[in-house]
C-alpha cells in the first residue's frame, strides 16, 4: 500500500472512476485549468479533456441542477462544490430535485449524481466559510451522505458514491487534504456505503463520530488511555445509510456513549443517534448519552473564540469522564 495524502486519494478515486466509466465527468468551479481550488482534480483536465473536466461559472444552483438533470437521463456527474458552504445556494436542487425525483416519478428515474466538497471549519475562515452541513443534508430522505476521515476512506467512499445509483453527498475535510495515510492501490477498492469502522478498540466507553472529528476522538482516546480508560472510537463514515448495528454493538459493549460531531447540536446527526440509542439500547446504558458539538453560534473569526467554539479533545475527555461518573 502506498502512503498518499487524502487529496491524492480523492484524485485517484476520480481518475479511476473516469477511466472505468465514460459516463463519469467532473464539473465545478476551478476544477479544470486551475486544477481544483484544493488541487483535488490536479491533472484531470489534461488527462480527460474539457468535456469531462468542466470548469463552470460561479453558479452553484445552476450546475448542481445540471448534475441532477444529466444524472436523470443516464450519465454520472460528479459535482464539486468549492466548499459545502457555497452549496447552500444549490440546496434547492439537492433537496427538491435530487432527493425527490425517484419518488415523485414513481420510481422512473435513477439520479446517480455525486456532490462533493469540503465541510466544516478550517482555520479562521469566519462564519460563512466554517460550517459542517452533513447533518442537514442527511436530513432529507432520498440522498445518501458519506463523510470520510482518512485517505483510504476518502478513496473507497468516493468510488462507492460515484458507482451508486442514488444521489450521494460526499463531505470531505478541508483540514484533511494534506493528511497522509496508507491507501490501497486496487482499482476496485470500494468501501460499501453504510459500513462504520471501529478506528480504535477499548471496552470502557464508546466515542461515536465521523469525518474530521475522528482525529479529535482519537486524540481524546489517547489522553484517556493515559488515565486508564479504554475507548472505542467508532467512525460512522456514512450518515445515511447509517450503520446502526455497529452503533448498537459498541453501546452493548461499553454501556457508555459520547457522541461527537463538528456541526451544531440542534437537529444534528448526534441527536438522531442519541434518540436511536435510547429507543433501541436503553437497557444497555449505564449513563445518559452525552454529546460534544460545535458551540451553538455562528463561527467567530478571532483565534481564541474560534478554538473555543470548536469541539475539542478536552471537551470529549470531559464528557467521557461524566459518563464514567469520574
Amino acid at each position: 500500500m502506498a502512503v498518499i495524502t487524502y487529496r491524492e486519494a480523492l484524485n485517484q478515486a476520480l481518475a479511476e472512476e473516469m477511466e472505468r466509466d465514460p459516463d463519469v465527468f467532473l464539473m465545478g468551479e476551478e476544477v479544470g485549468v486551475y486544477n481544483g481550488a484544493y488541487k483535488v482534480s490536479k491533472g484531470l483536465l489534461e488527462r480527460f479533456g474539457e468535456m469531462r473536466v468542466v470548469d463552470t461559472p460561479i453558479t452553484e444552483l445552476g450546475f448542481a441542477g445540471l448534475g441532477v438533470g444529466a444524472a436523470m437521463t443516464g450519465v454520472r456527474p460528479v459535482i464539486e462544490f468549492m466548499t459545502w458552504n457555497f452549496a447552500i445556494l444549490a440546496f434547492d436542487q439537492i433537496f427538491n430535485a435530487a432527493a425527490k425525483m425517484r419518488s415523485m416519478s414513481g420510481g422512473q428515474f435513477r439520479v446517480p449524481v455525486t456532490f462533493r466538497g469540503p465541510t466544516g471549519a478550517a482555520l479562521q475562515l469566519a462564519a460563512q466559510h466554517s460550517q459542517a452541513l452533513e447533518s442537514q443534508v442527511a436530513h432529507y430522505p432520498g440522498v445518501k451522505v458519506v463523510v470520510p476521515g482518512t485517505p483510504a476512506d476518502a478513496k473507497g467512499l468516493l468510488k462507492a458514491a460515484i458507482r451508486d445509483d442514488d444521489p450521494v453527498a460526499v463531505f470531505e475535510g478541508e483540514m484533511l487534504y494534506n493528511l497522509k495515510g496508507e491507501v490501497p492501490e486496487d482499482d476496485d477498492y470500494v468501501i460499501p456505503l453504510g459500513v462504520a469502522d471501529l478506528k480504535r478498540e477499548g471496552g470502557d466507553v464508546s466515542i461515536i463520530t465521523h469525518g474530521k472529528m475522528i482525529h479529535v476522538a482519537l486524540q481524546a482516546a489517547a489522553a484517556l488511555e493515559k488515565d486508564g480508560v479504554q475507548a472505542d472510537v467508532l467512525d460512522l463514515r456514512s450518515l445515511r445509510p447509517l450503520d446502526t448495528d455497529a452503533i448498537l454493538a459498541t453501546v452493548a459493549k461499553t454501556n457508555r456513549v459520547v457522541l461527537l460531531e463538528e456541526g451544531w447540536a440542534f437537529g444534528g446527526i448526534t441527536a438522531t443517534i442519541a434518540a436511536m440509542i435510547q429507543e433501541e439500547a436503553f437497557d444497555h446504558l449505564d449513563a445518559p448519552v452525552l454529546r460534544v458539538t460545535q458551540a451553538d453560534v455562528p463561527m467567530p473569526y478571532a483565534k481564541g473564540l474560534e478554538r473555543a467554539a470548536k469541539p475539542s479533545a478536552e471537551l470529549v475527555v470531559e464528557k467521557v469522564n461524566q459518563v464514567l461518573y469520574r
Binding site: G62, G65, V75, M101, G106, Q108, F109, P112, G142, G194
Partner: protein, 394 residues
Amino acid sequence: MADDNRQDSVAAVAEAEDQSPEAARAHDHSEEAEMEAVQPDREAQTEHKPRLSDEERLQRLEPDKLRRMMYDMLLARRFEEKTAEAYALGKIGGFCHLYIGQEAVAVGAIHAQRPDDYVMTAYREHVHALQCGISPGAVMAELYGRADGCSKGKGGSMHMFDVEKNYLGGHGIVGAQIPLALGVAWKIKYRGEDRVIQVYCGEAAVNQGAFHESLNMAALWKVPMILIVENNRFGMGTAWERASSLYDIYQKASAYAMPSTVADGMDVLDMYRVTKEAVERARRGEGPTLIEARTYRFVGHSMSDPVSGVYRTKEDVEKEKGNDPIRIFADLLARQNILSQEELEKMDEEVKRISEEAAEFADKSPEPALDELYTEIYANEDVNGRLYFDGRKR
C-alpha cells in the same frame, strides 16, 4: 467643495421632508402616471411580427398533421374541463393548475419536435404530459392519486413523468426545472446524441436566479435546449409589469448572447413555426433559443383562484377569450377547407368521450397499496445500515 456638496444634499433632504401631504400625493400620482405610460400594449409588442397569409401560416403542413393539432388542442381543453369537474367533486386533491387558454403553446411546440426529444416543464403540466403521448387515463389517474397514474400516484398534478415518452416532469419549484433541463441538454451534447430538450417555464420564473444561471451556461456551452417562456401575464396574481423592470422577456436572452424571439401563444401554427426553427438550430449544434410565447390563461392560477377578481376583471378575461386559440385555429382550418364545422364537432365529441373515459379509468384504478410507502425512494437499497429512521415497521 466637498462641504458645499454635503450642504446641498442636506438641503435637498430637508426640502423633500418639507413636502405637504398634498405634494406627496401629487408625487405619488405622477409616479402612477409614469407607470401607466410604460404599461405595455400587447398588440404593439407583437406588431413587429410580419402578418402572414393563411398559406404562410399553414407552412405546407399535411392536412392530417393540422387536424391532429386541432385534435390535440381540443383534447387538452376537454380534458382540463373534466379535470375541473373532478376537482369540484373532490376526486382530485391538492394543488391543480389548469391550462385552459394556453393550449396552443404546448401543442404547437411539441408538434415541432420528435418523440425521441425531451420535454420538461413546471407544474401547469397536464397538457404537456398528454402531448408527449401519456394516455389521458394515466394522466387522470395521476390526478386522482391512483396506482395507474403515470407516476403511480406519488406525484400528482405537479409531478407527472414518463421515462418512455421522454417526458421529464412536472416540477413544483418555480424556475427550478430550468437547471435540470440544462443538465439534460448537457447530457445530449456529452453523448453526442441527435436530440433536443424543450423546457417550459412561466413568465414569473424568469426572475429566479435559476433562469439566469441556466441561460448563461446553455449559451456558453451551446447546448440543444429550447426554453419556452409561457407568458400568460400573471405570476399567480401578480401582473408581469408589476414584477419585471423589462416587459419584453425575449430581450432577457440578449444578456446571454442567446437567440430569442416572440411567438403568438394563441396561434398553434406560430408556436409550431417558431419552435421548429429553434429545434433545427439546436440540432445543427448552434445552441439554445429562448421563445417568449405570449398567451393567456382563461382560468384562475389554481383551483382555489377565481377566474377574475382582485388582479384582473371579468371584462379583461372575456376580451382575451375573443382570442381563443382553438377558435382561431378552427376558423383557419374551416377557411382552408381542411376541417369543416361538422368534422370539428365530431372531433369534439370524440375528445369529450376520451376525457370521460379517462375519468372513469381513474375512478376504477386502485389507490396505491400502503406498502408502496417505502418503495422507490432509493434506486439502490442494497446497502449496509439503515436508510429510514422513523422506527416504523416496514
